[in-house]
Amino acid sequence: MSLSELAKSIHAIKFGLLSPESIRKMSVVNIKAADTYDEDGVPIDTGLMDRKLGTIEPGQKCQTCGNRVGQCPGHFGHIELARPVVHPGFAKLVYLMLRATCWNCGRLLLSEEDYRKYSIRMEKYKKKWPQFRFKLSDQIVKKAVKINECPYCHEGQFKIKFEKPTGYSEERKEGPKRIYSNEIRGRLERVTEADAALMGLDPSLARPEWMLLTVLPVPPSTVRPSITLESGVRSEDDLTHKLVDIIRINERLSENIDAGAPQLIIEDLWELLQYHVTTYFDNETSGIPPARHRSGRPLRTIAQRLKGKEGRFRSNLSGKRVDFSARTVISPDPIISMNEVGVPVDIAKQLTIPERINKYNLEELKTIITNGPDAHPGANYIIRPDGRRIDLRFPKDRKIIADAVEVGYVIERHLKDGDVVLFNRQPSLHRMSIMAHKVRVLPYKTFRLNLCVCPPYNADFDGDEMNLHVPQSEEARAEALVLMLVQEQILSPRYGGPIMGGIQDYISGAYMLTRKSTMLTRADASQLLASAGYRGELPAPAVKSPEELWTGKQLASLFFPKGFNYTLKSNICQKCDVCKQEDCENDAFVVIKDGKLVSGVIDKKSIGAQQPESVLHRLVKDYGTDMGRYYIDKAFKLFLAFIDSRGLTIGLDDEELPENGRLKVKADIHHAEEEVSKNINAYNEGLLERLPGRTLEETLETQIMQILEKAREDSGKTAKKYLKEGNTALLMANTGARGSLMNLAHMVACVGQQAVRGERISRGYQNRTLPHFKPGDLGAEAHGFVYSSYKDKLNPIEFFFHAMGGREGLVDTAVRTSQSGYMQRRLINALQDVRVEYDWTVRATDGSIIQYIYGDDGIDPAKSDHGEAVNIDKIIERVKAGGK
C-alpha cells in the first residue's frame, strides 16, 4: 500500500438526519412532474428522470457534473411536500418525544431539580462512558413521560396515544383528538437543544422536528435505474414507482389546499400521502398493506434494499465481487506437491498478474508479449507508464510492440508455474478453507490438488468445485506466501495438531509397506524409491542371502530426518492390558530411533490427517513446516507407489463368513431374541421390575434396546474373529484407512436395530408398525430389528425400516448444517474484532479488555504442542542426547 492510497483513508463516518435546508441545498432539481419520459423517450424536465439527476445511459453526459456513466455519481433532487409527514422509522421516537415534552412550552417534563441532576450526569457519562449515555437518556425519557403537569408553564399534559404506524391522538376532555403532523412539528420545534440532547438526540445533527418531513429527497437516477426491455418497453425501478405515487398525491393535496377544499378531503389526501411515504421507506411496515406492483408483487423499497441476506449490507458491502478469480471442478493429483494447485491452461490464460518491466525481466517479458493472449506463457495487456492500456488481442504483429516496450511498462501476463494464488472451498468454516498454493499449469479443465489438502478444505471429488484468486500486488503475494501457504497451515489452530496428512490409500499403503511380511528385492525397492523421488544410496539390505532383500520399514525410514526419535502406539493396537511394546505380535508398537523405523507399522496414528501427537505432527513441530512438506510430498508417494504395485481391493469374498461363523452369528441373534421374548413375557405378566424414574413400558423398551444392541455387537465381534487373514476390508478398518468394524459387521453379519428419534421404530399403523405384524407385537422384528446383513439381502420389511432410519439421518444433516451455520455466523460476528494487543491483552475494538493475557498463559494454540506450551519431555531427551 503506497502512501498516496493511505492518504485517502476514511477516519470515521458520522450519522445524522438531513435538515430540510440541507436537503434543498444538496438538491439539483425540484421534482414536480409525476412522469419520467415523454413519448419520444426523452426524460421530462423536473420529472423523476430529469437529466440533472445523473446519467444512466451510456454516452450521455450528466447535466450537473458533465461526467459520463461510470464517472457520474448521481445527484439528489427533492420534492416539496404540501404538508409535513412523519418519517415512519422515527414514528416511535416522535411519540416518546411528544410525551416527554410539554405541548405548550416545549420543555422537557422534568422538575428543575431532576433536570439539573440529569444534566450533570449526562455530562459525566459523555466524558467517561459515552457508550452508556443512550441508556441514561432512555431513563430520562421514561421519567419525563410520567409527569402530568409541566413544571415550567404549569400546563396540564394530555395523554397521548400512538396509533401505529404513524398516527397520534390526544385524549382531551372533549374526547380523543388527532394530532396532525404540522402540529407535531410545531411542538417539536419548540424543544430546546439542551432538552433534545438529554433525550439522546444530537441536536446539531438531528433536530427532533426533522423527523417530520417537509421536503423529501429524491435519490439520483443511478440509484433507481430504469431498464429497457428487449421489446423496447421501459420498465421503471420500484423506487421510481413509489416516488411517482408520492408526487401525484402531493400534487393533488396542494391543489386541494389552494382551492380551499373541505378539511375532510384534505385530511384524506394527507393520510394517503403519509401512506405512500411510509411504504416508500419501508414496505413491510406492520399494520398497513404493502404497496404492490401491477403484477401483485410487493415493491422493494428502501428498507428492503438494505435488509437481510440479499440486502445491500450483507451482499454488497460485507461481501464483494472480485476480479482475477476462477472456479471449476476439482480432481485429485497425487503427483503434484501439497503446496501446488493444478490450474487448467485455459484458466491460466485468462487470469493475469501485472508485472513491471525492469532490466532483468525485459527479455523474458518480451517473448511473453510476442506470445500474446492465445499462447500459454503469454500476456493479455500492456499498461504504458502514462496509464494507457494496450490490448494484445488485436495487433497483427506483436513483435513490434514487444520491441517497443521499455523498463517501467507493466505487463499483464498469464499465470505461470510458481505464481502464488489463493485457493478456496466453501463453506469457508475456518482459516484453512482459504490457503495459498503455487500454480502448476496443467492440461484439461479441472483444478488439481494434492490429496493431503482434502481434510482442511473438506473436499472430495464427487463434483466439488473450488475457487481461485490471484493476488495482484507484491504485498499481497508476500503475505499469502508467508502466512497462507499450505505447508504453514499443516498445524491447525483448533487443537495444535496436524489437520493435513494421509487419508485412505496413503494409510493402507503405509501399513502394507511397513508390515513385517513385506520384503523387497533390489529392483522393487529401487523402483519404489524412484517413484517417490528419493535420491541417495540404498541402505544395506536387511537380508543378504539367498537374495538381497529390503524391508518396507527400511524404505519408509529413508525419509525421516537423522536423529528423529519417537514412539507411539499405532491404530491397529489391540489395547492389551499389558503392552508388550517392541514384542507386540501385531507390530503395533511404533519405535523410531535416530530416523530409523525400528518396529511397528505406520498407519493412521502415525501419518493420518487430524491425528495429533503423530509422527507427522512431531516432524512438523520439531523440524519445521518445510520438513512436513518434504515428508508429505516424498514419503507419501512411496506409500502410494507401493499400494499401486500390490493393489488393494475388496470384493464379495471379503464379506463372506465361513459356515461356523455364520452359525455363531445366528445363534447369538437367536439367543438375543429369546431374551427379548423373555422380557416381553415378564412385562405381560407384570413381573418386570421397573427402573427408577421410568414407566414400565420405558423400562421394557430400554431393556430390549440393550439386548439387541449387544446382539449386534456380538455379531460384529464374531465377524471379526472369523474373517480371513488378509481380508482387505478388515485391513482398512484396522489401520483406520476407511470404514469401521461396525460397517464391516453390517455387511457380513447383521445390520441391527434401526432407530428413529433414538427409539425403536414404533409408528405406522395403530399399535403396529406394519400390517405384517399383529397389533401390540413388541418383538424385535416388528420394531425395526434387521437380522440380515447387507450381503445376505434385506427382506422388504427390513428394507423399509432401514429406509426409515436412513431418512432420519438425511434430515438430521440438513437441519444441522443450517443450525450450526447460524451459530458460526453469530460467533464470528461477535468475536471478529477481538485481537491481541501489543501489551498482550486481548481487547475488543472499543478498547475494553477481554483477557489480561490470552488464554491465561499467552500461548497460541497453533504454535502449541497439542495445547501444551512446551514439550518438556522432548527437551529433556534432546539435552540428554546432546550433552553426552
Partner: protein
C-alpha cells in the same frame, strides 16, 4: 495518519452489577470461592490502564485463574474427564531452586502451571542430569515458551470463533446423554452448545450434581435421606385420587404407601393445605383430606384445586427428581431441575463447595460472574469433548471471557455481544439493519471504523494481523 488508539478499559458497569449481586445473595453460607472471584474481576479496573511491561500483566491475570482452578478441582472429582492432561497432580510443589534461578534471569515470567510441571519432571532426574544440563533444559523450556507465545495483532477472536464453530458441523444433532445414570437425560451436542452461547436463562434440561459431606457420602440410607429432602413432592404426587368437586368440596385420597416412601405425614399435608389460606375448611378423615372452600364459583374451586395439587409439601422448588449415583466409594446426587441458591442455603449434609449446576445464569446470580465464566468454559468444553471433538480450551475460554467481560452474561448474538458493538455499520451488517441505522442517525452516532466489518464496508485494510501496523515507511517514487 495513524488512528490514535490508546485502549481504555471500559469496565464501567462492573463495579455496580457484580458486587451488588454477589454480596447480597450468597451470605455466609455460600462458598467462599466465588466471592474472591467476583472481586478479582472488579479490581483490575484501573490497574491495567497502562500496562507497561508484559511481565507486569502476567501476575494480574492469575487472579481470575485462581478462581477457575477451584472449579477445576471440582472437575477432577466429578466424573467427566476434562482432557486428562489438563489435570495436574495435586502433589506438593517440589523444590528445585535451580529452576527459579535460571528463570529469574529472564524478564518474562513463565506460567505457574508450566513451572510446576517442569519441576515435577526434573526432580526425579536430579541424579541423572548434571547441573549444567538441568539449566539447559530450563533455558530451552523458556525459549520454547517464548516461541509459542501469541503474536500481537493475532485475530484471536476469529480463530476462536472458527475453532468453536467449525466442529459444530460435525456434531450429531439430537444427542441425549445419560448423566451417569440412565434416569436423567441431558441435552448435549449442537443444541446444548447453541444454548450455551445463547446464554439462555434456563437450559432445556437443567440438572445439578450434589456431593455429600464426609458423614453422608458413604452411607446409602443417609444419602437417600438427603435426596428425599431435596426432591419436590407435591400433593399430586402423594394423592391416590382427587375426587371431583361434586358439591362445594373435594376429597383427596392420600396414598399411604407413597407418604411413607416420601416420609410425609398425613396431617402435615392437611396443615400445608391450610397454610394456603384458602377461605374455607380442611378436614382429615382416615386417608382422606376434604377441602371445603367457601366460594361456590366452580371456576374458582377448580383453580383452588389446581393450586392444592401443585402445592409443594417437601423438597426444593423446581427440583423434580433426585437420583443417587455411586461414584467410586461415595454416593452423590443428581437432580432433574436446578435451584442452586436453595440447595446451597437450605440443604444439610452436602458438600457445599462442590455443588454444581449446568444452569450458567443461576451460577452467575448465586456465585458471581467469575464462577459463571468457569461454568461456561466447563459446559462448552464438555459438550465438545463428549462428541470427541478436539478443541483447544483457550478458544472456549475466549468465548466465555467475551460473554462475561461486562460483569453480566451476554449472549453471543443480536441481544448481546453483537448488538452492543460500538460500530453502527457492524451492527447494521449483522441483523436488524434498518433499526440500527435509524437510531444512529437520531443519536448522531459516529463510527470510527475500528472493527473488521466497517473497514470491509468502506474498502480499507482491516486492523488485524499485519493490518495492525500503523507505521509506514515513506519511500521515493523513483523506485528501487
Amino acid at each position: 495518519m495513524a488512528k490514535k488508539k490508546q485502549p481504555t478499559p471500559a469496565e464501567a458497569e462492573v463495579e455496580e452489577t457484580v458486587a451488588a449481586k454477589v454480596g447480597a445473595k450468597t451470605g455466609e453460607k455460600a462458598a467462599k470461592a466465588p466471592k474472591t472471584a467476583a472481586k478479582a474481576k472488579g479490581k483490575p479496573k484501573g490497574a491495567a490502564a497502562k500496562p507497561k511491561a508484559a511481565a507486569a500483566t502476567a501476575p494480574k491475570a492469575k487472579k481470575p485463574k485462581a478462581a477457575a482452578a477451584e472449579v477445576d478441582e471440582e472437575d477432577a472429582a466429578a466424573e467427566e474427564p476434562m482432557r486428562a492432561k489438563k489435570r495436574e497432580p495435586e502433589a506438593p510443589l517440589p523444590e528445585l531452586p535451580l529452576v527459579d534461578q535460571v528463570l529469574a534471569k529472564h524478564d518474562r515470567r513463565l506460567p505457574e502451571k508450566l513451572v510446576s510441571r517442569l519441576k515435577t519432571k526434573l526432580v526425579p532426574l536430579k541424579s541423572k542430569l548434571s547441573e549444567e544440563q538441568m539449566a539447559k533444559v530450563v533455558e530451552e523450556t523458556y525459549r520454547s515458551y517464548i516461541k509459542a507465545l501469541i503474536e500481537p495483532g493475532e485475530a484471536a477472536g476469529t480463530v476462536a470463533a472458527q475453532s468453536v464453530g467449525e466442529p459444530g458441523t460435525q456434531m450429531t444433532l439430537r444427542t441425549f446423554h445419560y448423566a451417569g445414570v440412565r434416569e436423567l437425560n441431558v441435552t448435549l451436542g449442537l443444541p446444548r452448545l447453541i444454548e450455551i452461547v445463547d446464554a439462555r436463562r434456563v437450559p432445556s434440561t437443567p440438572t445439578m450434581t450434589i456431593f455429600l459431606d464426609d458423614e453422608h457420602k458413604h452411607d446409602l440410607s443417609k444419602a437417600k435421606g438427603i435426596a428425599a429432602n431435596i426432591e419436590t413432592v407435591t400433593v399430586e404426587n402423594v394423592a391416590k385420587s382427587i375426587g371431583y368437586e361434586m358439591l362445594n368440596n373435594f376429597t383427596i385420597e392420600v396414598d399411604a404407601e407413597m407418604c411413607e416412601d416420601k416420609m410425609i405425614d398425613l396431617n402435615y399435608i392437611a396443615k400445608s393445605i391450610e397454610k394456603l389460606k384458602i377461605p374455607g375448611r380442611v378436614s382429615v378423615e382416615g386417608n382422606n383430606i376434604t377441602v371445603e372452600p367457601e366460594t361456590t364459583d366452580r371456576d374458582k374451586i377448580k383453580r383452588i384445586r389446581e393450586r392444592i395439587m401443585d402445592l409443594r409439601l417437601k423438597g426444593i422448588k423446581s427440583i423434580k427428581r433426585v437420583v443417587i449415583e455411586k461414584k467410586g466409594d461415595e454416593y452423590l446426587l443428581r437432580t432433574d431441575g436446578s435451584n442452586l441458591a436453595q440447595v446451597i442455603e437450605n440443604v444439610k449434609g452436602i458438600d457445599k463447595t462442590k455443588v454444581y449446576t449446568n444452569n450458567v445464569s443461576e451460577i452467575a446470580e448465586v456465585l458471581g460472574i467469575e464462577a459463571a465464566r468457569s461454568a461456561i468454559i466447563r459446559e462448552a468444553f464438555e459438550v465438545l469433548d463428549q462428541q470427541g471433538l478436539d478443541v483447544d480450551v483457550r478458544h472456549v475460554i475466549l468465548v466465555a471471557d467475551l460473554m462475561t467481560s461486562t460483569g453480566k452474561i451476554r449472549q453471543i448474538g443480536r441481544h448481546g455481544v453483537s448488538g452492543e458493538k460500538s460500530s453502527v455499520l457492524a451492527r447494521a451488517a449483522f441483523e436488524v439493519t434498518v433499526k440500527h441505522l435509524l437510531d444512529a442517525a437520531a443519536h448522531g452516532e459516529e463510527d470510527c471504523l475500528e472493527g473488521v466489518t466497517e473497514n470491509v464496508i468502506v474498502g480499507q485494510p482491516i486492523p488485524l494481523g499485519t493490518g495492525i501496523v500503523e507505521l509506514f515507511m515513506r519511500f521515493s517514487k523513483e523506485g528501487t
